[in-house]
Symmetry: C2
Subunit: 321 residues, 2 copies
Amino acid sequence: MRIDLRETAEYLLENDDYVFLCHTSPDGDTVGSAVALAYGLRSKGKRIIIRCGDEFAKDYDFMFADYEEPDFEPKRVVTIDVADNKLLGEKYDALYGGRVDLCIDHHASNILYAQRVCLEADSASTAEMIFILLGLMNIEITPIIASCLFTGVTTDTGCFRYSNTTQRTYDIAAKLVGLGADSYNIIQVFFETKTKTYAALERLALDTMRFYFSDRCALICVTRDMFEKTGSDDSETVKLANIPRQIEGVLVGVVMRELEDGSFKASVRTHGDIDASAICKRLGGGGHAGAAACVIKAEKQQAINMLLKEVEAEIDTHNIY
Amino acid sequence: MRIDLRETAEYLLENDDYVFLCHTSPDGDTVGSAVALAYGLRSKGKRIIIRCGDEFAKDYDFMFADYEEPDFEPKRVVTIDVADNKLLGEKYDALYGGRVDLCIDHHASNILYAQRVCLEADSASTAEMIFILLGLMNIEITPIIASCLFTGVTTDTGCFRYSNTTQRTYDIAAKLVGLGADSYNIIQVFFETKTKTYAALERLALDTMRFYFSDRCALICVTRDMFEKTGSDDSETVKLANIPRQIEGVLVGVVMRELEDGSFKASVRTHGDIDASAICKRLGGGGHAGAAACVIKAEKQQAINMLLKEVEAEIDTHNIY
């Protein structure tokens, strides 16, 4: 059943004893939105625990400064920014995937696995929805809540650079700053800080950049020996994802990175009408029109070829010469 | 005489036949603010010409889509975003530097050379001031005006990443998007587009990065042979300026680039209390607390040493270990 933000507010105020679930490979939006909503509902006397199939990176530690975990048996299951129950990870999908009471999400690709789905596909982030939701519940947005939401708003828009950014995004950012969000430091941490190991990885990665289809596609491929050489790790490659698309004239930017099991995760970023999620869907992945991902179980050159084949098919459907 | 935005609005509406002057090495704020104000006043029947000591880059062409140059002898001289009459360039400093009727600016380092100075040092950009000024004059902000101002707002805040960004910055950005600013494309052009030649230059530049003072300072040095090798040019090095400061733990990031005459221009970016303009002032330059520049007439290693000496002096005054 699809429900709107007002009905979601009513549901959350009427029930209690929630488990909030984030998606695996947690980003600023799933974590920030879940923690912000938890703080907000706690101020209304509700009990909430937050769970995620993967550990939260230390960059998110500040969000949990005021978090205490009550001890209770969850009665209601709420997923936050989770488009597919598979994204709960094996453990939580098995535990809760089949009985999600409410899903709050902004991914157009949401498979509607929950009993109640509050989905705003034109919202740049789930955090924007939570901001409005808190207002509907008359919950005060404290500085820590504002900081959690500001993290979601910025990380899901690439700091206001993606095409999903709207007037509402800036408007909510302004209000969150006014409410005490630590905006400058959040942006520094998530967008303006590179570790020395990442900087070294970036240099190696740039050397692998190749161009295809009359320079309309640029592709970087990061292999595990590069992580070893630089002392960098998987988590840092996320920041590489936008680099190929930044090159003038490139419509499809791809970053492939070798996973521990030897398969390759492809992060696809597109411009204009080129649909990144269409490319990734054909390879078993998904995402947004401008940013999507998939995992290809093949050795390096074959994985690249499989990905490029789908890129070419997608470019061809748009008759771009 | 210092005047406020209301008095500035009155002055602009009472007078006519303006020459608007931008600063040399024109950036999005000086150009966008000047063109936006010109369009606005033109709708009130005023005549304006815009001049700059350097040519405008082609990225600013879109601003002039609706610009027509009337033929008249300027009666009032207005400088926009110009902290020092020397920044008018030799020609316009000689012509107008001694008789500037009004200066609209946001640089704390403004030397107050104009007869009337409208200065808001806590404004992130001159464009923010122009936005308010247009409102005070009851001038409609058309989509092209909104786009000009959005360019100034974003380029002077590094797309909302610098510490000068305030609640007002986001609030004005929201309003400009609502008024039809072409926000996505502007951000793509100024922040998300690299030419292939720039990408090549960046790789070479990254290889020159060195760390000093227990890794609190990172320095890149770009020489003219790198421009030749990559087919890149001077104008593209501006985009390198933030890279060294992005490294974790770095408080002072420096990009030096060799100018045509063999001297070196240093762009200094700092974090926290470290004052970039203090560093550059001692070498004859200037700017903001977080971003400043100077030109050093010396050969490469000597120029680097001179700059590092001032960086060390500035770090030392803050007792940072």
